[in-house]
Subunit: 189 residues, 2 copies
C-alpha cells in the first residue's frame, strides 16, 4: 500500500506512466491510437455526438461501458437555442483540457506537487469571414489567449518550465497551433 501511494502524484500514477513508456519503447506498435466520434444532426445548429470506443495500446479499448453523449448548438444570436456550447467553445475546451492534463503529467514526472491549475481561454473572430461577407477575415479565431494560474510546491521558474514543456507536448495544442489535414467524404442521396 505504501509503495502504491508513493507512486501517485497529482492523481497521476507515475509508476504506470513509466511502465507504459518502457512498453512503448519495446513495442512501438502499441503507440498507435485511433479516436472516433459519431455525430448526428438534430435541428438547426443542434447536433449530438456519441463518443465510445477507440483503438489504442494494441487493441480496441473496452473500458467504456457506455458512450459519452455530448451536444453542440448555438445561442440565439447565432440562430440556435442554447441547447449546448457552440463548436468554437468546444475547441477551446479541448485545448484547455489537453494543456491542463499535460501540465499535470509533466509536473508529476518532475516530482512537483500541484495545488491549483486553472485557466481562462479567449478566442476572437470576426463573423464577416464565416458568413462570406468579407474574405479578408478568416472563418475561425484570429488568435486564442490562454491565461493560466498555477500553484505548486516548486519555484516559479520551475512551474514556468513545466508550462513550456506542456506546450511542446500537448496533443491538442499541437493540432490547434499547427493544423491537421482533414479529408471529408460525403455519401449523398
Amino acid at each position: 500500500m505504501s509503495i502504491t501511494t508513493a507512486t501517485i502524484r497529482n492523481g497521476v500514477d507515475t509508476a504506470q506512466v513509466y511502465g507504459t513508456l518502457d512498453a512503448l519503447k519495446e513495442q512501438p506498435e502499441l503507440a498507435r491510437f485511433e479516436f472516433r466520434v459519431k455525430n448526428r444532426w438534430l435541428e438547426g445548429p443542434h447536433s449530438r455526438s456519441e463518443i465510445h470506443g477507440f483503438w489504442g495500446a494494441g487493441g480496441e479499448d473496452t473500458s467504456r461501458d457506455e458512450a459519452f453523449v455530448v451536444e453542440a448548438s448555438e445561442p440565439p444570436v447565432l440562430f440556435g437555442h442554447n441547447e449546448a456550447p457552440n463548436p468554437a467553445e468546444y475547441l477551446l475546451h479541448a485545448l484547455a483540457g489537453c494543456m491542463t492534463l499535460t501540465i499535470v503529467n509533466v509536473a508529476a514526472a518532475r516530482k512537483v506537487e500541484l495545488h491549483e491549475v486553472s485557466c481562462t481561454l479567449t478566442g476572437v473572430l470576426d463573423a464577416r469571414g464565416a458568413t462570406g461577407l468579407d474574405d479578408s477575415y478568416r472563418n475561425g479565431f484570429e488568435h486564442i489567449r490562454v491565461a493560466y494560474s498555477i500553484r505548486g510546491d516548486a519555484p516559479a521558474e520551475k512551474l514556468r518550465e513545466i508550462v513550456e514543456r506542456a506546450k511542446s507536448r500537448s496533443v491538442v495544442f499541437d493540432m490547434v497551433t499547427n493544423g491537421v489535414p482533414v479529408d471529408v467524404e460525403a455519401d449523398v442521396g
Copy 2:
C-alpha cells in the same frame, strides 16, 4: 404565423439569417465575437470547464442563465478513469458540430430541405510523439477523416456542393486545418 413558418428551413430561420447579414453589412462592428472558457484541474487528467458568457453582435450576450459545465479526462490506458471524453475526442466533436451546422445553414440558404446529416470522424496519432519518445512523430493527429451521410430533397451534385461550401465556411474546419496562433501566459507561485 404562416409568414414565420415559411422562413424556417432545416430548423434555421432564414429570415433571421438574412436580417443578420444585412445588419453586419451596415454595422461591421457587430461582427466581432469573443468566446471564453474557464477550466479548472480536478485530479490526474480530469478537469472541468465552465462556458457561459461571450461578446458578440455589439455587446455581452445575456441569453444563457447558467454556465454549461463540461469535463475532460482520459481512459485508464491513458492514465485516467473515463470521467469524460478526452480532449482529442472533444476536438473531433467540435469539428463535427461545426461542419454539420454549416452544412445545415448552407442548405437552408439554398432552399434545400435536409432529412439526415450524420458523420463519423476518425483521428489517428502515434503516442511516441506526445510522450517525447520519438520526435519524428507529431503530438496530435496525423490526419482526420470525416465521412458524412447526407439525405435531402436535392440532387446528389447539389448536396456535394453544399458540403464543399461548408468546408470553405466552417469556423472550426478553418481552425483545425489551418491552425490558430495561441498565446499562453502563466501566473505561477
